[in-house]
């Protein structure tokens, strides 16, 4: 090989950069996060699998509906009516009261930074109950 030193150095640098996720993880995958589901309430405004994928679009719809059309009532898939409110409905004491045990788990795992909290204030959590 001609200029073997330079070529091998180039290959090593290329390999090191392209295999970054492998040596950065080094065989230890963090476990999949588990969200804490509410104990009392059994049903959300839409079925679980739907919410898992599309909750951000439901919330976006709610925001537009409340802020732009003043329509605050949401009829859920099971016919129940809900007040469209992130803080008072979604995050009420009976449901997803703790941001750190529900929202943050998946968002942190998948690197999602929703801008809900630019305007909303998440319900207060007692510090000792935090994980």
């Amino acid at each position: 090989m001609y200029d073997g030193g330079k070529i091998i150095a180039g290959i090593i640098i290329g390999l090191a950069l392209l295999t970054f996720p492998i040596w950065y993880t080094s065989g230890r995958a963090a476990p999949k996060p588990e969200v804490k589901l509410p104990v009392k309430e059994k049903e959300c405004v839409q079925p679980g699998p739907y919410m898992k994928k599309k909750h951000m679009q439901v919330l976006d719809l709610w925001r537009d509906s409340v802020v732009r059309v003043q329509q605050r009532s949401y009829v859920a898939f099971n016919g129940k009516e809900y007040d469209m409110s992130l803080q008072n409905t979604c995050m009420s004491a009976d449901c997803h009261a703790k941001k750190s045990e529900f929202c943050d788990r998946c968002h942190n795992y998948t690197g999602v930074v929703p801008y809900c909290w630019d305007c909303h204030i998440p319900p207060k959590e007692k510090p000792e109950e935090k994980h």
């Binding site: 090989m1 070529i7 995958a29 679009q57 795992y109």
Partner: protein, 345 residues
């Protein structure tokens, strides 16, 4: 191959890949094959193939220096050389490195592209033609950003730069989930590069399925990615479980991942496996372009052709030594005289 056939062959190939993944996962439930086995095989093919390619290139001898020089060569001290001359007619390592940096990061060769145009009558003009450079720089950099953003699926915790890239990329906070500009621009740039080949007659004439196929493949990748993120949605947590399983060599296939994801990852696998066999090798090859990465020092350093083999030579002096007496006998002129007879003791 004519243009219609080329376009049909390459687009049908990409569509066929989509169908294979769809049928394989939706019909035959081969999640392990498409989610784990094929990605691993593809990545192995990529690395082995690329290293093989680079080593093969390294084995090629370079018998002489062939930098393309567009500036004043280093010569007599009173002939001035500007920075442009130093870059375009590099002498030392520093100049070559500078030239390579501009080439690899800024695509300078494309930037210097010109187009011949006819002026009035006999007049000929060379006009700057920057569209190819523009399309290709947008394409490559948005692709890089998209690739780096995907690190959120392959690292836990994420390295510091991923959230920064996501924040800048989603700067306008349009749509939910936040629209990433890089995705749109990547699609636009790839479409431009495709149309450029189809619309311009000269480009159309020299384009082959090997040119169209990667573009269709990348458009397919972008489309499935965009569909997954913005339209049909995907179970991101399960997908990350799968991808983290891949990078930690503890593969898992969680339930509830949509077929679309398997189509996406299959196209990605084909893309990676296709690299060493195609024009996409320019990713490594750009560093080994001899017209860019050698210095123009032919007049300063003696370069010996590595192909030279030892040639059997018979010098004139040796020839004369061999035939001197016969030459003298024949009356031919000789450089050295006849050997003196040995003196008697």
């Amino acid at each position: 191959m004519n243009v219609i056939l080329s376009l049909i062959v390459s687009s049908v190939a990409v569509f066929g890949l989509v169908v294979i993944a769809f049928v394989g996962v939706w019909g035959a439930h081969l999640e392990w094959l498409f989610g784990v086995v094929i990605p691993y095989l593809a990545v192995i093919t990529f690395f082995v193939g690329m290293i093989y390619r680079v080593v093969q290139w390294g084995k090629c001898a370079m018998p002489f220096r062939i930098p393309s020089t567009c500036g004043q060569q280093k010569t007599l001290p009173w002939l001035k050389r500007t920075y442009v001359d130093k870059l375009d007619n590099p002498v030392g390592t520093v100049a070559v490195v500078g030239r390579m940096i501009l080439e690899v990061l800024c695509f300078r060769s494309l930037f210097r592209n010109t187009r011949l145009e006819f002026g009035n009558g006999q007049e000929i003009k060379y006009k700057s033609a920057k569209w190819l450079w523009f399309g290709s720089i947008v394409f490559h950099y948005t692709f890089l950003i998209v690739l780096l953003r995907h690190l959120r699926f392959f690292t836990e915790p994420m390295p510091f730069f991923v959230p920064i890239i996501e924040k800048v990329d989603g700067f306008f906070q349009l749509y939910v989930p936040t629209l990433y500009q890089s995705g749109l621009l990547l699609g636009a740039a790839a479409t431009f590069l495709l149309l450029r080949r189809v619309i311009d007659g000269k480009m159309r004439y020299i384009s082959l399925p090997a040119d169209y196929f990667p573009l269709f493949l990348i458009l397919g990748l972008a489309t499935t990615g965009v569909l997954m993120r913005y339209v049909l949605k995907a179970d991101v947590v399960s997908i990350k479980e799968l991808t983290m399983g891949l990078v930690s060599f503890r593969p898992v296939v969680p339930e509830g991942i949509s077929v679309l994801f398997y189509i996406h990852i299959f196209l990605v696998s084909v893309f990676f496996a296709y690299f060493p066999f195609s024009k996409l090798t320019h990713m490594a090859g750009v560093f080994l372009s001899p017209t860019r990465n050698v210095s123009n020092n032919s007049r300063i350093v003696r370069h010996i052709n590595p192909w030279n083999y030892p040639v059997k030579v018979h010098t004139y002096a040796a020839y004369e030594d061999e035939f001197r007496e016969k030459m003298i006998d024949a009356g031919l002129p000789v450089e050295k005289g006849a050997p003196e007879p040995a003196k008697p003791e």
